[in-house]
Symmetry: C2
Subunit: 318 residues, 2 copies
């Protein structure tokens, strides 16, 4: 398996694809290469792109990637597919839409499914980002749908977060306001050739003015038409400018630390969950506890949590 | 604080509001009453309602509640506000929209913010549902936006999951398919007076036919116009029918067990996270570990997770 890592460092795309698959399947064979990868990471500019379904986010990522390639940057794309937490089946839409990039050897595209919280989508996504980082991609774009907690977590951990909206009613904007307004470093009004694009642009500008942001930097709002490429140069400028801004302010190190600690926490959570699940099913004392929680309700979940933790500590099984 | 629980069991609305606030703020004063509440829970029919922003979900919940009241049922509503994970500020929209229900003593409405994963929205939401359950509400409606992981988790834990869509384009449907198709027990096409409602209805029917569902039951698809009340009686029938179906098949106990074990796991996760965070900041050995993770990158997050867990076990600090 050391061979797999070496092949990735040597630029072998198939080795990259293979390791991401191992990670996605929770294959133990991924363990060693992922561990050894860590020291080769930290060089890529990680860009999170989020937006509602229908905002044209994937097409925009497509256009942005082409523009970045024109500027000589290599690009990795991780598209998070919000597939059912139950089937794990894959939506192929993104991959199909990005087909015209697929022949460029400097672009690496991968869709990843979300498989319920126990599957640990965040852990797998972070591993995949790290693989592309070690692989040497200059920019890694993580594309997520919507404003759920997982999406927010992923976007929060990017260096640069791009929030994609489109013209149309206050509903979009309300969702924005509600979910991800404050994590956006760059805002995009896509489909800006529609007649109500101006209103959406103004609404976002107003919201940004009203919101109390810590930074001195006001996020740019960029109008694009992803299908024609309009505004995409400006977006590429904004993305690269933001990275420079982080660098100049010494904020890159802070982001890197946050990212690694969040990864650490996620891995710990998933491991604890696995051990607790096993204990609740197999350990006679814990099976008894479940009865008291569920059947007689004489123990409540908060007290139950304490008992489980004490039990695992005693057995040193966490 | 026992007094607070007693007052809730006696039907005091202000005590209910007070305890939910304590829960939301993570106030330790909530602990005792929440623990003692557990034995009074398990009687309510928990209904999850989810849908994209703009689907008219809140108005529909409003109409459904009125219909359920007409049938003599008392109703509790928990509206999850997808507020920023950073400010915790509240979107008041839902509360305002539901104002006409607010004077009915048999209806209890509460908006709750989502405050990032560390805040434990799921724990607080479950606690609030349990409070309304002990309070004696016949039905508890948990209203969430979108198809993020938190929403899926919440809806999954309801007895009956209602997925609200509206006419308009494949984007809506794609998101549906991707996220929550398989957790819906009842599907609604709201705004069914729009001309393209028929197509959306047909698309959902086809998707349901194609999807491989375990159950013998095919989820109904109901056309509603929430603003006029059209279809809302039918929706109320479907909601109550589904509960009867669960009861007759002996599935209620299974759901109750899943719910309680999910609560337990969530509480354990949050507790482990608190302890790990503290150790990483305060414990000299762990501070050293963070340096090796972040600065020199000589330890990777997966190995780091193992070290942290071993450390906490040794110190019995989990």
């Amino acid at each position: 398996m050391d061979d797999l890592l070496q092949r990735i460092l040597d630029g072998d795309r198939r080795a990259v694809a293979r390791l991401i698959t191992l990670v996605e399947n929770g294959d133990p064979a991924a363990k060693e290469p992922i561990r050894k990868l860590h020291e080769y990471t930290g060089k890529a500019h990680i860009v999170g792109v989020t937006g509602a379904p229908g905002s044209g986010k994937s097409t925009l990522v497509n256009s942005l990637t082409k523009e970045l390639r024109r500027r000589g940057k290599s690009v990795g794309i991780i598209a998070i597919d919000p597939t059912s937490p139950f089937t794990g089946g894959a939506v192929l839409g993104d991959r199909v839409r990005m087909q015209d990039l697929a022949t460029d050897p400097e672009v690496f595209i991968r869709s990843m499914g979300t498989r319920g919280s126990l599957g640990g989508i965040s852990v797998a996504t972070n591993d995949a980002v790290n693989i592309l980082d070690a692989f040497g991609k200059d920019l890694i774009i993580v594309e997520t749908v919507g404003a759920g907690q997982v999406e927010v977590d992923i976007v929060k951990l990017a260096h640069t977060s791009v929030v994609v909206t489109m013209p149309g009613g206050g509903d979009e904007i309300q969702a924005l306001k509600a979910g991800i307004m404050e994590i956006g470093d760059i805002f995009v009004v896509n489909k800006a050739d529609r007649e109500d694009a101006g209103r959406t642009y103004t609404e976002i500008m107003m919201m940004l003015e009203m919101s109390q942001r810590d930074e001195d930097r006001v996020p740019p709002v960029i109008r694009t038409v992803a299908t024609t490429g309009r505004g995409v140069e400006e977006l590429a400028d904004a993305v690269l400018d933001h990275y420079r801004y982080l660098k100049e302010r010494g904020l890159l190190e802070k982001k890197a630390k946050e990212r690694i600690l969040a990864e650490l926490m996620e891995i710990i959570d998933r491991r604890v969950e696995r051990n607790v699940s096993r204990a609740l099913q197999e350990d006679p004392e814990m099976v008894e506890l479940v009865k008291k929680l569920v059947d007689t309700r004489e123990i409540d979940p908060h007290s139950g949590a304490q008992i489980v933790i004490q039990h695992l500590l005693k057995k040193a099984e966490v």
